[in-house]
Amino acid sequence: MKFVHLIWSNLKRKKLRTGLTLLSVLVAFVLFGLLASIKQALSGGVSLEGANRLVVRQKVSIINLLPESYKARMERIPGVDLAVYQTWFGGIYQDAKNFFMQNPVVPEEFLNMHPEFILPPEQKQAWLATRTGAIVGRKTAERFHWKIGQKVPIQSSIWAQTDGSRTWEFDIVGIYSGRDKNTDTTPLFFRYDYFEEARAGGKGQVGWYTIRVKDPSQAAAVAKLVDQEFENSPYETKSEPEGAFVQGWAKQVGNIALITASILGAVFFTILLVAGNTMSQTVRERTGELGVLKAIGFTNGQVLTLVLAESCLVAVLGGAMGLALAWLITSGGDPTGGMLPQFFFPHRDLWVGLGLSLVLGLATGIFPAVAAMRLRVADALRRI
């Protein structure tokens, strides 16, 4: 610890260069943070809850509907614990740009299926008691400043009511929050019985099912049984674990995401290269001073540590500041206004980033440090 002062003086030796190096490391790690958040947003961070859940959709396409009567048939299949359905409502609130999902569900069993949505018990009671009641996630409620008790008109692009109107009115009776950080709290859920009675067409048909299996290790086998059950019916199904379903969506967006990610990766390493080069240059310039240090009795190990500590200090300091800045930037949430509800900086990647910054410090410091350690005092002093 007595050398801290020495390291500090070395850094202060060329303040401008240290500052610039620090800043370029900082920029690299801001990029890293954004990259991690974009990746998170696109892969949709599937919660562990998904391990025992299957998504069942119509085989031809998810836009094709399935009969509501499949619920009872699914629940009779061995290994199936519970089956619930949702339907894509395709609603617009005020402006098409205000995108969020709204689906009709059967309240009690839906909340049972999704313990990751946390709804206060009295609000749940209110939902069960109000036919036109809807619950909405915290994010969307905050976005539109919705309060409990408010009436919200939503225009459906798909579903007309029996009187021909496409404007549906819901009473906000509850605001749910997410149990985990990656729980999506943008959707609105309203009651299926209200929907079923009021809609003009498609009666008795629903969008897709979520199944909870009794034993997660049997999930694949149960998915197969479900598809077999409905084989050769007019509505054949395709069942897959919730995780695979979400990943499938990410893959639909396609290699655009992959390309963006790999470009950002390349950028990250380019900047590291630039920063690393400057850091080793700093050490090379001081060969003479290092010779003096050795001449006055510093051991090889001490010289090595001194040089490494300096490069690590710059890297970790720049890295930590960059990650903190990225954290700040991403804490504002989804920059696209609804398209990427899962946009946030995952904790895990924060630690990965810190680890990387340390690796950067070691990698850029190690060659000059070893060179400094091997330096013969006479050679070094001759260079002055």
Partner: protein, 399 residues
């Protein structure tokens, strides 16, 4: 000081001096060049995605073509008409005619799951049911392999983009739609537009398969001329029998592409700006060390009577040369790696896949070089000023 010729020769000699010393500063110079190359490559690469996507959308609609949807529908997916409505639309004034009647094609639009070649996972592929006029309405339509489907038969033709991106879409293969198997009998191109991402079949076949009765989702029309649009639109929107929305195809597709292009462009510019900041630091570092390595030389020249202006200009020139080199490398990499790269992504408006190719246009390359120039100028300016302000006596004493 002597005239401009003398000044120029001063600049030239100091610059030459700087450029010749580059090999000695290989590591730091190449780091700066790579940094700038990276910025340009990323900027051009990411923006080429947006340009390619937009180009595909723009190529989809002609100025003398219109699309009719149910009023309130913002895509074909949620639109709907019955047969009588489509007849009224086909009779409207302003429509171009062939010997077989007005150029209006009532169409159906659904989605089927097909595995993507690149990932092997299901993707939403658009399946369109068309009437015979569809081929005349889209004048860029061309069969490139095989033949058209026969009306009323369970056959499909496949857009050239879809054939490249989704598995088993080849002439002679069959695609499975529910319990039906339909043979692929042809592959078509459509001037680079979105139709190339689609699978087409006869509208009546699709109506039967999807139990749609005699209903459609959109009507594609060709007008006598681009200026006939207003007349056509007014006639339909004022018709009490109809409740429709009429758009120029160019506007319809432009609307669909704005969200994606804006997202990609914002992302690209944001990332490139961040990188540019990093690259400026890299360039600054390089030029500062270039200046400090030559402190004595610069001071000697100044003592010999070289002006501080020529020193400033020459340091900036050196930085600019390095930046342009980096910019050229970056633009070259972007062009080789991305131009013409075929891919498919989700178009959220139509809820289905659009295939398109990345486009590295000359405007993008110029934009990249402009960025490199700016980085080079900023990276050179401050070190140049330092060089010019060197106190001559003190610097010479460093000898």
């Amino acid at each position: 000081m002597a005239g401009p010729v003398n000044w120029l020769s001063q600049v030239a000699s100091v610059t030459k001096f700087g450029l010749l010393s580059i090999p000695q500063r290989r590591a730091s110079v190449s780091a700066a060049v790579i940094g700038i190359a990276g910025v340009v490559a990323v900027l051009v690469g990411v923006l080429s995605i947006a340009v390619g996507f937009r180009k595909t959308m723009d190529a989809s609609g002609a100025p003398d073509a219109a699309i009719v949807l149910r009023s309130g529908a913002d895509s074909e997916m949620v639109s709907g008409f019955l047969r009588p409505d489509t007849r009224v639309i086909a009779d409207a004034p302003g429509l171009a005619r062939s010997d077989k009647g007005p150029l209006a094609s009532a169409e159906l639009f659904v989605i089927i799951n097909l595995p993507k070649r690149s990932t092997g996972t299901d993707a939403n592929v658009p399946l369109r049911g068309v009437e015979n006029e569809a081929f005349a309405v889209r004048d860029s339509f061309k069969i490139v392999q095989g033949r058209r489907f026969e009306p009323g038969k369970d056959e499909v033709i496949v857009g050239i983009g879809a054939a490249g991106q989704f598995a088993s879409l080849e002439v002679g293969n069959k695609i499975k739609v529910g319990r039906y198997e339909w043979p692929v009998v042809g592959i078509f191109s459509a001037g680079g537009g979105t139709a190339e991402s689609e699978i087409w079949t006869d509208a009546s076949v699709l109506q039967g398969t999807y139990h749609r009765g005699d209903s459609f989702q959109s009507v594609y029309t060709k007008l006598i001329s681009p200026s006939a649009f207003q007349q056509f639109k007014d006639a339909l929107t004022s018709d009490p029998r109809l409740n429709v929305k009429v758009m120029r195809q160019t506007d319809y597709y432009a609307e669909q592409s704005t969200a994606v292009t804006k997202l990609i462009t914002t992302l690209g510019v944001l990332v490139a700006s961040l990188m540019a900041v990093g690259a400026v630091f890299g360039a600054l570092n390089t030029m500062y060390s270039a200046v400090s390595a030559r402190t004595r030389e610069i001071a000697t020249l100044r003592a010999l009577g070289f002006g501080s202006g020529s020193v400033v200009v020459s340091v900036m020139l050196e930085s600019l040369v390095l930046a342009l080199l980096g910019g050229a490398i970056g633009a070259g990499i972007a062009y080789l790696a991305f131009n013409g790269f075929q891919t498919a992504t989700m178009n959220f408006q139509s809820f289905s896949q659009v295939t398109f190719a990345f486009q590295v246009t000359s405007q993008l390359l110029v934009q990249g070089i402009v960025w490199a120039t700016v980085i080079g100028l900023i990276g050179g300016l401050f070190p140049a000023l330092r060089a010019a302000r060197l106190p001559i006596a003190a610097a010479l004493r460093e000898l």
